[in-house]
C-alpha cells in the first residue's frame, strides 16, 4: 500500500501541494460564501485524485505497475486510502486554516458568515459530501479508466445535483440559497437525533458508502483488461 502511495506522491507531489494551496487561498477571497468554500474543499479532493489518475493515464504507468508483484485489490485499496487521506488533508486545511482566516478577512464583508463552517454540522456535511463524491467517482474510474470514467462520473454527479436541487427547491426559495438550506437541513437532523446519534449516523454513512463503493470498484477492476 505504502509503495503505491510513494509512487503517486513522487509523481504528483508538486501538483498535489498546489491543489491544497489553492484551497487555502480561498480564505483570502472576501466574497466566497461558506457553501462555496465547503464545495471547494470537496472539489480539491476530486482534483487531487484526478491529478494522480491523469498522470497515470497519460504515462500509461498502470500497465507497468500491474506487471509488478502487486495485487489488484491492493491497488484499489491504496486508491481508496489515498482518497481518505485527501479528505482528511482537505478537511484539515478547510477547518484549520480556510474557515478561521475567511471569517477574519470577510468580517463585515459577506452576508454569509464563514464562521458557520466551524461547526459540527459543517464538518459532517463536508465529510458526507466528500466521501460520497469519492465513493461515486472511484467505481467509474475503475470501470472505465480516467477519461471515460471522469466524464461519466461528471454526468452522474450533475444528474444527482440536479435531482437534489429539484427536491430542495421549496427550501431554497426561503432564503440565502442552497448552502444555507443544506446547513439548516443538517442542523435539523442533528437536533432531532441528538449529537451522539448524529455522529454515529455520519460515521455509519461514511463506512457503508466507502465499503459498497470499494466492493464495486474491486469487482470492476479485477475484470478490467489492459
Amino acid at each position: 500500500m505504502l509503495k503505491l502511495w510513494a509512487k503517486d506522491w513522487l509523481a504528483a507531489r508538486w501538483l498535489l501541494l498546489a491543489d491544497l494551496a489553492v484551497l487555502c487561498l480561498y480564505s483570502l477571497q472576501p466574497y466566497f460564501s461558506a457553501g462555496f468554500i465547503l464545495a471547494g474543499g470537496a472539489a480539491v479532493i476530486l482534483f487531487g485524485l484526478g491529478i494522480v489518475f491523469f498522470l497515470e493515464d497519460r504515462n500509461r504507468t498502470e500497465v507497468l505497475f500491474l506487471s509488478f508483484p502487486i495485487r489488484r485489490a491492493d491497488v484499489v485499496g491504496a486508491r481508496y486510502l489515498f482518497g481518505a487521506l485527501l479528505v482528511l488533508l482537505s478537511g484539515a486545511a478547510l477547518f484549520g486554516i480556510v474557515a478561521p482566516v475567511a471569517a477574519l478577512v470577510q468580517s463585515g464583508v459577506s452576508g454569509d458568515d464563514p464562521l458557520k463552517l466551524i461547526s459540527i454540522d459543517a464538518a459532517a456535511a463536508f465529510l458526507c459530501l466528500s466521501v460520497f463524491l469519492v465513493a461515486l467517482y472511484l467505481p467509474f474510474y475503475h470501470r472505465f479508466g480516467f477519461g471515460r470514467g471522469t466524464i461519466r462520473f461528471a454526468a452522474a454527479a450533475l444528474g444527482l445535483a440536479a435531482a437534489a436541487l429539484a427536491a430542495f427547491l421549496p427550501a431554497l426559495s426561503a432564503k440565502n440559497g442552497g448552502a444555507e438550506a443544506a446547513f439548516r437541513a443538517v442542523r435539523t437532523i442533528r437536533l432531532s437525533l441528538g449529537t451522539a446519534l448524529f455522529l454515529a449516523a455520519v460515521a455509519a454513512f461514511i463506512i457503508v458508502t466507502g465499503f459498497i463503493s470499494f466492493r464495486v470498484s474491486l469487482r470492476f477492476y479485477e475484470r478490467r483488461e489492459f
Binding site: 509503495k3 509523481a11 498522470l55 504515462n59 500491474l66 509488478f68 508483484p69 502487486i70 483488461e225
Partner: protein, 288 residues
C-alpha cells in the same frame, strides 16, 4: 527439460481476434524468441502471462507455478520490458527508479547504478528527455536490477538502431550465462533472434505455426528457387508458401533435404532465414 514458462492450450478472444490453443514452453536457462507479424498475438500472449488480460481457456505455468494462483511470487521473479516503456515521463530517472524499487524485495540499488553507468543513462535527466533507445536501456536496467530469473521483453528492439540492438543482445546473452535465468523475447525483427535465440516460437493469426529449437528450424527449412516446374502437382504439398517472381518461382519448404533429393541441380536451394519463414508463411492462404 525444466521449463521457465509452460503454456498449454491458451485461448483468448477479443472482438475479431482469437488466440487459439496456443502451447509452447520456454526451457529454463534458454532464450525463446516469439516471432510473428504485427497483430499475430505476441503481445496478447505476454499480457496473458502477466495477467493484464484474462484468458478464456488453457493453463500458464511459470517456474512450475500457476500464474493466477501464484501471481505475486511469479511476478517478483520477472523482469519486464514492454514495447513502449511506461514510466512517468516528467520525473528524473533516479526518481523513476525510486517509484519502482519498493515493489521488489530483491531490488539492488548498487546494481541499478552500475547498469546506469554501463548503459550511460543520465540519472539526473527526465525520462521524456531520452531517446527511444535510451528509454529502452533504462527499462532494461530496471528489469535487471531486482535479479529477475525470467526476462520478458515485448518488441524491445523495434525502432532502435543496430548499435543498441547489438548491445541489448549481448546483454541478454550475458544474462542467461547466470544458470537458471531465461528470456522470452517477442519481436518481428527476426535477425536479432538468429543471433541469440535458442528456441523460436512462430505465431500467426493467433495460432502457433511451430515452436522448436532455432538450429533445427534453420537446418530444415529451405527456400527453393527454380522454374514453374516446381509447382507441378506432385510437389505442391512440399511447399508452405510460393512467390512468383520475374525470374521464376520461389517457395518455402519445411523439408530442405527432401527438396534437395527431388530437385537436385534443377533448382537453387538455400537455407531459409527466420525472415523468409515468416514472410512465406504469412503469404500462405492469402495472408501478406
Amino acid at each position: 527439460m525444466d521449463a521457465a514458462i509452460e503454456v498449454r492450450n491458451l485461448s483468448k478472444s477479443y472482438g475479431d481476434f482469437r488466440l487459439k490453443d496456443v502451447s509452447f514452453s520456454v526451457p529454463r536457462g534458454y532464450i525463446m524468441g516469439l516471432i510473428g507479424p504485427n497483430g499475430a498475438g505476441k503481445t496478447t500472449v505476454i499480457k496473458l502471462l502477466l495477467n493484464l488480460i484474462r484468458r478464456d481457456g488453457g493453463d500458464i505455468r511459470v517456474f512450475g507455478l500457476d500464474n493466477l494462483a501464484a501471481e505475486m511470487e511469479i511476478k517478483a521473479r520477472l523482469g519486464i520490458v514492454h514495447d513502449t516503456p511506461f514510466f512517468y515521463e516528467h520525473l528524473r530517472l533516479a526518481t523513476v527508479a525510486k517509484t519502482v524499487a519498493p515493489f521488489y524485495r530483491d531490488w539492488d540499488d548498487g546494481l541499478f547504478r552500475r547498469l546506469a553507468v554501463e548503459f550511460e543513462l543520465p540519472l539526473g535527466k527526465s525520462f521524456k528527455a531520452l531517446s527511444r533507445g535510451m528509454k529502452m536501456k533504462f527499462a532494461l536496467a530496471v528489469a535487471l536490477s531486482h535479479k529477475a530469473d525470467l526476462l520478458i521483453l515485448d518488441e524491445p528492439t523495434s525502432g532502435l538502431d543496430p548499435v543498441f540492438r547489438r548491445e541489448l543482445l549481448k546483454k541478454l546473452s550475458a544474462f542467461i550465462q547466470d544458470e537458471g535465468k531465461s528470456v522470452l523475447f517477442s519481436t518481428h525483427i527476426t535477425s536479432d533472434l538468429e543471433r541469440i535465440a535458442d528456441f523460436i516460437t512462430f505465431i500467426r493469426n493467433g495460432e502457433i505455426v511451430f515452436s522448436s529449437p532455432r538450429d533445427e528450424i534453420l537446418g530444415t527449412w529451405a527456400v527453393v528457387k527454380g522454374g514453374p516446374e516446381l509447382l507441378a502437382a506432385e510437389h505442391r504439398a512440399l511447399f508452405k508458401g510460393v512467390r512468383h517472381g520475374e525470374f521464376g518461382v520461389q517457395a518455402l519448404t519445411q523439408d530442405g533435404a527432401e527438396a534437395r533429393r527431388r530437385f537436385g541441380r534443377g533448382a537453387v536451394i538455400e537455407e531459409a532465414t527466420l525472415e523468409d519463414i515468416m514472410f512465406y508463411i504469412s503469404r500462405e492462404n492469402g495472408h501478406a
